[in-house]
């Protein structure tokens, strides 16, 4: 993976106090050689891998637990993805994004817990239905013990 490869990164923001415009300003301040597109969910950054990685690291520090970043295959405004040229409808990848977006507040909460250093105790889950629960179901359905 060469540092000079051109890549795009998608920045998804799930915050009540940081706006995509705040992130854009931070990127402009860094004077990095990247292209930035502000979107409804956050930003898309394109440039050389080394620059994009550096910028991504910088903007993550603004609100670390509420900024989520992944690499994106297509560049910003790509005609193969842009709905203007595809006759409308959801962009490929939208559904994945939509479903994961609903989980982001939970992930934020968990990341904050890690940041605070809270000790997490894993719950031991029973792999199968327990005898007590099975008995309860039988009783609820009107079954009697023979």
């Amino acid at each position: 993976m060469a540092q000079d490869d051109i890549i795009s990164k998608m920045v998804v923001l799930h915050s009540t106090f940081t706006l995509p415009s705040d992130l854009v300003i931070k990127i402009y301040e860094s004077k990095a050689d990247v292209t930035v597109k502000e979107t409804c969910f956050g930003l898309i950054i394109e440039g050389k891998r080394q620059d994009v990685d550096l910028v991504a690291k910088e903007i993550r520090s603004l609100d670390p637990n509420r900024i989520f970043i992944k690499e994106r295959g297509v560049p910003p405004g790509d005609p193969h993805r842009c709905r203007a040229g595809r006759g409308g409808g959801a962009k490929p990848g939208f559904h994945m994004h939509e479903i994961e977006f609903t989980l982001l507040p939970f992930i934020t909460e968990a990341l904050e817990e890690i940041e605070r250093g809270d000790v997490f105790e894993k719950k031991v889950k029973s792999p199968r239905i327990t005898i007590e629960y099975l008995k309860k179901i039988i009783e609820e359905e009107g079954g009697k013990e023979v």
């Binding site: 993976m1 998804v12 690499e71 295959g73 297509v74 994945m96 989980l103 992930i107 968990a110 997490f120």
Partner: protein, 147 residues
Amino acid sequence: MVKVFIYPSNSLILSDLVDRFGHEPLAVMQEIGKKIRTAGIEIPPINITPEDPKKGLKYAAVEVPSGVRGRMSLLGPLLEEAEAAIIVKEPDISFGCMGCARTNELINFLVRAKKVPLLELDYPKTQDDAKEFVHSIKEFLDKLGGE
């Protein structure tokens, strides 16, 4: 830094968590990006080059649906690079490039066959599930070391 294969391979959450905890996520977006930026491919990433079926044939026989081989030409090279893997079991969100059940089965099999450190999880549905999800990933990635 360890190269961690993620499944679903286009997951924002998995990709972000692996990157956040200091490792390199191996995601399908990287391969798509290479296709998009290769001059001469007419409608990337839908079009494939003559090299792609050859890569796909390494993982699936010729009578297997062509979609499986096409997808494997993207995901196969990632699997070969993988030094660890995080798999979310039966995700509901297998859309788009992840929307082929046979490819997904094959990938799950190949990851297991590779015998790399593997973490299997369920997608979180509640806050407690999410805590367990993130803590498990952190614990797994910390154990990989390699910083």
